[in-house]
């Protein structure tokens, strides 16, 4: 399936653009990765004694794989609400620059902030990667509708996956469960590496991975924040140094 050319009458209606976004769910391999990941989250929720409704609400309203895995595993292992909230919020900081960098791709001079609400909510690693791929092929005034369609499709796939995973949980072998949980670090690592444009992005990613085990030795509970601030600031230093030299 190829998207219609930019000047095609197909793009005249926002609903058509929404439908093209919805159909584009079938054009990305990340849909399969998401399906398997959310199957795993459904099974994890079941095994940690959360209800199906709880799992579905977490997908609908949190819509960020790592945050959901962290939330379920911390609450399941007896952490307090505050400890879980801190772990979740640290993992979610990435959403801020992601939203800031993705929204200008679909904004026009007359766009109001509230029109971007759903696009902001739907922004996560998958949508961020796919926006950079699909949006150049979509006329600017139809991009919000297209992204809403794409996001709606991805959320729907994940809600189905949660339900299937929840009911399959008792039958999942440990090996399959392990393979599903391994999808998150692999797909996140390669998605982020693929979207790295500048040297600073690559340095931040590589140093962030390498510094985490060191930071974890301090056992402060803020390990990820510490390693992230140090690695990110060094990466920014690399960017700054290259700019000065250029």
């Amino acid at each position: 399936m190829a998207l219609p050319p930019l000047d095609s009458p197909q793009w005249n209606s926002p609903w058509r653009a929404f439908a093209w976004g919805l159909r584009s769910v079938t054009q990305t391999i990340l849909t399969i990765v998401l399906f398997a990941t959310y199957l795993g989250i459904g099974a994890l929720a079941h095994d940690t004694h959360f209800s199906l409704l709880w799992a579905l609400c977490s997908t609908l309203f949190v819509w960020a794989g790592p945050a959901q895995i962290i939330l379920i595993t911390t609450l399941g292992s007896g952490a307090t609400i505050i400890q879980s909230a801190i772990a979740v919020t640290v993992s979610a900081i990435r959403l801020f620059p992601m939203v800031v960098s993705v929204l200008p791709l679909m904004r026009t001079p007359t766009t109001r902030r509230r029109e971007l609400f759903f696009a902001a909510h739907l922004t996560a690693v998958t949508l961020w990667v796919e926006c950079h791929r699909f949006l150049p092929q979509v006329p600017r005034e139809r991009r919000i509708a297209f992204v809403n369609g794409l996001g709606f499709g991805l959320v729907s796939v994940c809600l189905c996956a949660n339900t299937v995973g929840f009911f399959l949980a008792a039958n999942l072998t440990q090996t399959l469960g392990a393979a599903i949980l391994m999808l998150t670090p692999l797909s996140f690592l390669f998605s982020t590496a693929r979207n790295s444009r500048e040297a600073a992005d690559v340095v931040a990613l590589a140093l962030g991975v390498l510094l985490y085990p060191l930071a974890a030795k301090m056992n402060s509970g803020l390990d990820i924040l510490v390693s992230g601030l140090v690695a990110g600031t060094i990466a920014y230093g690399v960017h700054w140094w290259r700019e000065v030299r250029a």
């Binding site: 979740v88 801020f96 929204l103 902030r113 670090p185 985490y212």
Partner: protein
């Protein structure tokens, strides 16, 4: 499946919102709020993006180093090896996410099967 398994109690949903939805969603809403005012090429945003990428890298490392649930049943060397093998293929295939993910998974499953 019982009512408790499917629906559960409302307290758990309150915990979901307080510990999960709000701490996660505030960053998106901040992005929506400030998004209009920040120039995409500004130095502040370059730094914020670098820190956010490094934090995401930390989350990735955490899942591999301190694995949750069933992943803990896989030996350390297999998990690290899976990431390394996936990375090599990802780079060799000119950044194919799919090739990298599949290689990592196959490496881990083959290793687990081989070790018994």
């Amino acid at each position: 499946m019982s009512y408790a398994q499917l629906i559960g109690d409302w307290q758990a949903l309150v915990v979901l919102f307080v510990a999960g939805v709000i701490p996660n969603q505030m960053w998106r809403m901040l992005g929506l709020w400030f998004g209009g005012g920040i120039d995409e090429g500004s130095e502040l945003l370059v730094w914020v993006r670098a820190v956010a990428t490094a934090i995401l890298a930390g989350v990735i490392a955490q899942i591999v180093v301190q694995p949750p649930g069933a992943l803990a049943s896989v030996p350390d060397a297999l998990r690290y090896g899976a990431v390394a093998a996936g990375l090599v293929v990802f780079l060799l295939t000119r950044r194919s996410i799919f090739a990298g993910v599949v290689t990592g998974e196959v490496f881990m499953l083959a290793g687990k099967w081989w070790l018994g």
